[in-house]
């Protein structure tokens, strides 16, 4: 913590913190005065979870420079670990905030373990092959959780795979295979979501500004050059990847504990892609971009509600147009000229 205050922070990082705090205060006041519609109110915690997901994936894609198509897998691990932990500890820890914290730490830890398991062999692969293995990992996690049964009664925890082969007299099912976790007590609050975003930002900014962060970025920019000046490839890649995985796990817990039910199908390839869209639209390596993109695009389908059936179609078109506008050299030059002219007029 000492290092956090003494290290020279970039001005833009402080702006990101300030922006997040400001947004939190504004939305908290709005929800307090009833200015938010009930659907928007329900979106607050999921938005926080997706912001953390986007930040965590930005660490992998933007800072580490590896394309991951299975980030929802880590989110899934965090979500189910968190939901099961929270349900199991319902009697042991009556304080919901503390229970959420414990559940989140468990979710992050298990996701980190998965991150090590996937990362050690996988980070040897390059480029698109890494992408496909992470995709495969996400699908495997989905299948495994769909076939997992966990129950708890007075004698303790019961667990089985593929088939439900234990019986309980007085207990309850914590995880019921394809039906997922049902009847979750919603203990995630907007405040906890906000705190998780802040913690994530502190972790990422400190990592990026540290010696390890510079090593990670050096590997991204030129692996061979970095390796030849003595940077340990596996160590630093794994470090970035595991931190990213554990943050995704925490986001998963936050998300799960704001829903009534979660099923493994929720965290499929499409979710991974959705988060990747946030990251790329927000800008690789730009944390504030990820935050804005994740928040806007999570709420956008709700805002497009008046288009009803057409909203996802509009969403797709908007996505394509934004990509074309920001990446096509002709259009980019065109935009640059317009903004330049505007700037000149001001002068």
């Amino acid at each position: 913590m000492k290092k956090f205050f003494t290290s020279k922070m970039k001005k833009s990082n402080w702006l990101v913190y300030a922006g997040v705090i400001l947004a939190f205060v504004v939305f908290q006041v709005m929800s307090g005065t009833g200015a938010l519609s009930s659907t928007m109110e329900g979106q607050l915690v999921p938005v926080c979870a997706y912001v953390v997901m986007a930040l965590s994936l930005n660490l992998t894609v933007g800072v580490l420079g590896e394309l991951s198509l299975g980030h929802a897998g880590f989110m899934s691990i965090g979500a189910f670990t968190g939901a099961v932990t929270a349900a199991a500890l319902e009697g042991a820890i009556p304080n919901s905030g503390l229970r959420l914290l414990v559940a989140m730490i468990m979710g992050a830890l298990l996701a980190a373990v998965a991150g090590v398991l996937v990362g050690v062999p996988v980070l040897r692969l390059r480029g698109d092959y890494l992408a496909i293995v992470t995709l495969a990992f996400g699908e495997i996690i989905k299948s495994i959780i769909t076939n997992l049964y966990i129950g708890m009664d007075s004698t303790g925890l019961h667990c089985s795979f593929l088939n439900l082969n234990f019986t309980m007299q007085d207990g309850k099912m914590l995880l019921n295979g394809p039906m997922g976790v049902t009847g979750i007590e919603k203990i995630s609050t907007f405040l906890s979501g906000f705190l998780l975003i802040m913690v994530t930002l502190v972790i990422i900014f400190n990592l990026v500004n540290s010696r390890s962060g510079r090593a990670i970025m050096a590997l991204r920019d030129n692996r061979i050059a970095a390796e030849s000046v003595g940077i340990n490839v596996t160590k630093y890649k794994l470090m970035g990847f595991v931190i990213s995985a554990s943050l995704a796990g925490a986001a998963g817990t936050l998300f799960a504990l704001s829903q009534n039910t979660i099923m493994a199908n929720k965290f499929d390839f499409n979710t991974s892609i959705l988060v990747l869209v946030f990251v790329v639209l927000g800008g690789l390596g730009r944390m504030w971009g990820s935050i804005i993109a994740a928040a806007t695009l999570t709420v956008l389908p709700e805002l497009l509600r008046e288009f009803s059936d057409y909203r996802m179609l509009v969403y797709a078109i908007v996505l394509i147009l934004i990509m074309l506008a920001t990446n096509n050299p002709t259009l980019k030059g065109w935009f640059a000229r317009i903004f330049k002219r505007k700037g000149a007029e001001k002068e």
Binding site: L125, A131, I132, E139, S143, V277, L313, A316, P329
Partner: protein
């Protein structure tokens, strides 16, 4: 033993479909170096076109197939022209996200046009089947047609790439775009042709897929698309024989895992095998090892 043979044949049939889809992925990747995530949804469009031609307009299935091929080729070329061509100089991630946008677009357009109610694809072959060993070994005609179609497509495509002038241009582009351009090859046109061929193949795959698995919804193409993509990587992306090998192996593994281990785990097993293969041979089964130069 006979049931094993049955599963093997089913696996090869499913694998043939994966192989045809994987060809589209692998060719586009080999030349444009992009992952075309909308490929799976072109399969779906092809299947819908054939479905409406056969069941609503009472056309002959072959006509339906031809229509599907034409529509998909036009659609593929159009998508390439509108969405991918402006991004030729952009980073591969930007193109990837655009492809995802196109995929969303196609899925949602299909949902609006044809609703998400599953359509039962007509049984083109009237369930005809060859029964051997007192009916213990059943080979449906659709299985035979699928496998035959895969073989024919492979032979034609290999001949096209090896012998024709356009094929030569494609090979040149995949090796070095700049040098190809200097030799007077129209790189943009070659990429467009690749997309057209890939989309035509997707239409064939869509129709074949729906003769085997007749329930047709707007998301029909996405899972086979992802699996075919893994098949392409499995065999070594960018390699045509690799796509065939990867597709068939993937199909067999999937059916066998479903039959002997667990249906609900078959996907997990397929992907686990993929990870193992990539760990042992990081460029896929038939992929070329590219040496890194400093």
């Amino acid at each position: 033993m006979l049931s094993f043979l049955n599963h093997l044949i089913n696996g090869i049939s499913l694998g043939s479909i994966y192989a045809i889809i994987a060809l589209g992925y692998t060719m586009v990747y080999g030349i444009a170096k992009m992952l075309n995530f909308a490929h799976g949804d072109i399969i779906m469009v092809g299947a819908y076109v054939c479905f409406f031609a056969v069941s609503s307009f009472q056309l002959h299935p072959v006509v339906g197939l031809l229509l599907a091929i034409i529509v998909c080729t036009v659609l593929g070329t159009l998508i390439e022209k509108l969405a991918y061509k402006p991004l030729r100089q952009a980073t591969s991630l930007a193109v990837l996200i655009t492809a995802i946008g196109v995929s969303y677009f196609l899925q949602n357009a299909a949902q609006l046009l044809w609703t998400s109610n599953p359509k039962l694809f007509p049984d083109i072959f009237n369930g005809a089947a060859i029964k051997l060993f007192d009916g213990e070994l059943i080979i449906t005609v659709s299985t035979l047609v699928t496998i035959a179609a895969c073989i024919v497509i492979m032979i034609l495509l290999t001949a096209f790439i090896d012998k024709s002038k356009t094929g030569k241009a494609m090979r040149a582009c995949s090796e070095d775009k700049g040098a190809a351009q200097l030799m007077g090859i129209n790189v943009n046109r070659t990429i467009s042709i690749t997309f057209a061929i890939g989309s035509a193949l997707a239409a064939v795959a869509g129709v074949l897929l729906c003769t085997t698995y007749p329930s047709l919804v707007p998301t029909t193409g996405s899972m086979p698309g992802i699996k075919a993509f893994t098949a392409a990587v499995f065999g070594g992306i960018g390699s045509v024989p690799g796509a065939l090998l990867g597709g068939i192996l993937l199909g067999i593994i999937e059916i066998m895992a479903g039959a002997y281990i667990s249906t609900s785990l078959s996907n997990a097993i397929v992907f686990a095998v993929l990870i193992l293969v990539l760990l042992i041979k990081p460029t896929g089964l038939l992929g070329k090892q590219i040496r890194e130069k400093v």
